[in-house]
Each structure stands twice: as C-alpha cells, then as structure tokens.
C-alpha cells in the first residue's frame, strides 16, 4: 500500500534547480522564504534575469526597423523567442505565435479580432463555472456589444467540470467554446482533449486558457488541435508584461487587427491602410523586447530540466500537499478534483483566509488569500475567499511541511 503521506523524492536535476532562483535565498520576516504563490507569479531563474540585463546592457535598441547592428541583434533575439515558443508548443509555424501582454490580453484580442465580427444577437459563447475573470469578463463585454449570450457550464461539488453538460451546451449558435485547462484557484485539470474533439465535431472554434498548465505539463497544440491557446510569461519563470496567443494560422489570417499603430501595417496612406500578415498584424507599437528575450531564456531553462520530469515530480508533490493538508486539524480543502495540478485551495474552520495569509507571512510562507479572480467559483462553494498554496518546480516537501506546521499555529491561535 502506498503511503499517502510519504514525501516524494526530489530528482537530482530539481534539487539543483532551487539554487538557480536567487530570490529563494532571501529571508522574509526573519525566516527562510517558502514561496507557495506560484499560481500568481513564479520566481525567475538567474539565466532569465541575466538575459534581460544583457539585452539592456549590450543590445538595447528597437526592433524591426533599424539597419544598424544593435537593432539587427535585438530583432534576432526577439524573433528567436517566437521561434522557441512555437517549438515549445509544437505550433505548425512560428507565425502562429502572437506576443501579447499576457493571457488576459490574448483573450481580449480573440474577443475583439476574431469573435466580435462573427457574433450577432443570440449567438452563444460557452465557458465554465471555474473560469478566471480573464475568461469571463472579455466575453461579457463582447456580449454587451453584440447581443451574444454567455453560456456557463456547471461544475461538480468536488471541483470537476461537468463535462457532459459543457458539451451538451454546444449548439448551433455556439460561436466559441472557451475553457480553462487548469483552474488557478482549485487546481482542477479539465479534459480539454475531449472538449476540443466535441467542439470540432460541431465546427465550433476553441480557446484554451493555459495560464496555469503551460508551466506544469507538456502542451502540443497540433495534437490538441485547439484554435487558440493563451498564456502568460510570468507564470512560467519569465518576465511580467509579456505572454502570448497561439492561433491557427488560418484563423489568424481571417482576423482583423487588434490595436492600430506602428509595426502592424503594410502601407499607410490617408486613402487607406493595409496590414501585415499575422502575427505582426496583432502587434502594434514597440513590443516588450526585453520580455521576449526573457521568454527565450525561460524556455531554455525549462527545457534544460525537462518538462516530463517537472510534470512527474510536481504531480507527486501536489498530491503530497493535498494529502498533508487533508489530514491537518481544522483545514478543509475546497475542491478535490480527480485530476489536480499546481494549486490547492483551502479554508479553516476558525480562521479567515486573510488571517491565515498574514500568520503564514510572519513565518516566511507566501500563499495567496482571496477569491483568486474567480468570484463565481467562490460563490459556487458558498465562500468569499480561500487560502491557496501553489507550487512550481523548485518547491519541495519541506515547503509543504513548513506550511502544515504553520497552519497548526493558526489553528492554535484561532481554534
């Protein structure tokens, strides 16, 4: 019989990885930092920090427009990031990768440039009850503009998606099926393969919010065959302010520009303007060049460890965390999905999530307290907030043990 409370062994490659993140050496409130807020933002390895510094110190210049050497080098470095991302996701072509500010902007881009011209009153957009606000509000705004209707598929009490109902809500007027791959607040891994398959059978385009899965597991967009996939760099060891949109080239070709400005045009005249082909059509103005360079370095870092190894280890670690928390006095998990990745939400009988967060902070432990930008999901569970522990490749069982021990102190104070 497997001991559910046995700590998972740390692979050698990951033991070493902890040293790659300088921030993990600092203290918080006189205690070693235990960083368990990775679903909000991951820490950055030295190689990413160095790549950004190197760009600003030695290569800084604008891209796509200079003939001088610095601009040529910066352009090559930035476009290298696109090439790496395309390979990372196994996109068919690098032109299928659009740089954005992150997952939120990517969804807004799809709403504006893809769906709005297609949507009319009475058309439907399908999402689930466990979406992040980023995969709710852009669609609500679109519904206001077009008269389209937002359809919300329910979830079960354990935090699993009611996938049958999600699929049954796909109808002749469904213009897009959007779904979060991994819930940022309760860690549910949704069966996106089945959802995409069902949507394809009905010729419904799909959008996958992979903000919380891309750092935990391998994603192959050709195998998935989704139409769009969105993600944020800062949740995968890369800088803030940059992320991306994967879109099938045929879809991107059919789409109108997102923002207008420099770099996205073919020709400009007062009689009319023509636009570049994707992905540049959707990238107006000077982009986050340093961010792109940080993305390239981040991908190199992840690949140097290996995504399969990361995924296997994290799966064991999150299960260990769930089992430890379940057997901690006064703690109740919110959501016990059949397949979990990355995050665990919990509440305590005696202490509110903010009180838990404050006390853990004084112990050097960083977790997130609140609604995690998932107010409808919180309401579904009849609560206003949870405490959430979320892991990344550098976490280990000692981090989880420190969390559990400190929760004992919370229980003591409030119990």
């Amino acid at each position: 019989m497997t001991d559910l409370l046995a700590p998972p062994p740390i692979p050698a490659a990951l033991k070493k990885a902890r040293d790659d993140f300088p921030i993990l050496k600092r203290e918080v409130n006189g205690k070693p930092l235990v960083y368990l807020d990775n679903a909000a933002s991951t820490q950055k390895p030295q190689s990413v920090i160095d790549a950004i510094t190197q760009y600003y110190a030695n290569e800084n210049s604008n891209i796509h427009r200079g003939v001088h050497l610095l601009s040529t080098e910066a352009t090559a470095a930035y476009e290298n990031a696109r090439t790496k991302l395309a390979a990372y996701l196994n996109a068919n072509d690098e032109s299928e990768i659009v740089f954005t500010r992150g997952a939120t902007e990517s969804i807004n881009l799809v709403a504006h440039s893809f769906l709005e011209p297609l949507a009319s009153a009475g058309d439907e957009i399908l999402i689930s009850h466990m979406e992040h606000h980023a995969n709710i509000v852009p669609w609500q705004l679109l519904c206001e503009r077009t008269g389209a209707v937002l359809k919300v598929a329910p979830i079960f009490d354990n935090g699993d998606l009611d996938t049958d109902t999600y699929i049954s809500l796909m109808g002749p007027r469904t213009k897009l099926a959007a779904i979060v791959h991994v819930s940022n607040s309760i860690g549910t891994v949704n069966p996106i393969e089945r959802i995409i398959e069902a949507a394809k059978d009905r010729s419904i385009p799909t959008l996958i919010d992979s903000a919380q899965s891309i750092q935990h597991m391998k994603l192959d967009v050709q195998e998935l065959d989704c139409d769009f996939l969105v993600f944020s760099g800062h949740k995968m060891f890369m800088p803030t302010g940059i992320g991306g949109l994967y879109g099938k080239r045929a879809k991107l070709d059919s789409m109108r520009p997102y923002q207008g400005g420099g770099d996205m045009i073919a020709n400009v005249s007062f009689d009319g303007t023509t636009f570049k082909a994707p992905p540049y059509r959707f990238e107006a103005g000077t982009p986050h060049i340093a961010g792109g360079i940080g993305i390239a370095a981040g991908i190199d870092y992840i690949e140097s460890i290996g995504r399969d190894l990361i995924c296997d280890y994290e799966t064991q670690l999150i299960d260990y965390a769930a089992n430890r928390l379940k057997s901690t006095a006064g703690v109740r998990l919110i959501g016990e999905p059949s397949h979990r990745a990355g995050a665990i939400s919990f509440v305590m009988n005696s202490a509110h999530a903010h009180d838990i967060g404050t006390i853990l902070d004084t112990e050097g432990i960083a977790v997130r307290s609140g609604h995690h930008c998932c107010e409808p999901l919180m309401k579904r569970f009849g609560i206003s907030a949870t405490a959430r522990a979320s892991i990344a490749l550098y976490n280990n069982h000692e981090d989880i043990d420190a969390l559990v021990e400190s929760l004992g102190k919370v229980h003591q104070l409030f119990g």
Binding site: G30, H352, H354, T362, G370, A385, L413
Partner: protein, 144 residues
Amino acid sequence: MNSELKALYRDTLLEHSREPKNNRVLKNADAYFELKNPLCGDLITIYLKVSHCIVSEATFEAQCCSICTASASMLTDQITKSDIEGGIDFADSLIESLLQPGISIANLENEEIQSLAGVKSFPSRIRCATLPWEAFKGAVSRLV
C-alpha cells in the same frame, strides 16, 4: 508568534471576532450600506436605525476576516447612542489614524478600538479594519 503578530491579534480583537456584537440583519433599518473590498472579496453591510439624529441601533453582517469582523463589532458598539455627526467624526479620525503613519490611534477615546492599531504594521490589512467604518459613512449618506 512574533511581537507584531501579537500586537495585531490582541485578545480584545480576537474576542470581538469570535463573538461579534450586533452581528445580524436589521430588518427595520432606516439605512444600510454594503461595501466590498474588490481586492479580496470581503463584504460587509452596516445597518442603522436612527431617531432624532441619534443612532438607536447599529448592526452588521459580513463575510470577512477576523480584523474586519472585530472592527465592525466595535463600530456598532461605539456608534450606538451616539449622534450621527459624532459618529462620522469618530469614523474619520479612526480611518485617518490607521492610514497615516504619523497619527496615533491612542488619541481615540475607546480602548477596545485602540486594539485595531496592530494593523498599521501590516499595510495589506489596514483596509480590513477601515472597511466597516467606510460602510458606516455610506449608510449615513443614505439617511434622509
């Protein structure tokens, strides 16, 4: 537990959060005001019954943390039987003393409420303490 944490979770505050006073809906309220902290989802409603500019009854209901609950409990105690203007002055002074580093909460003549002073060492928790008082001001603004 470190000294700042001890100062935050003083016994008075914990007692108010465990057994809050006037924690109920006031059905015949003359005014009520719901206020949410959008950052964390904390939600509080203050109910007031007022007669001749004197608060005859004040209650609250909330989905919030211990500090917000305790602060609301103390608020209802403080403003009951007080005149509206005095209540607003007190709320303004309390909010100012929590937000401004240089102003001491000890100037407020209510020892229990002074137990909220610990939030000043935890900037992310100050709004937890001020939320009920802001809701109270909102409720007053709705009185005809």
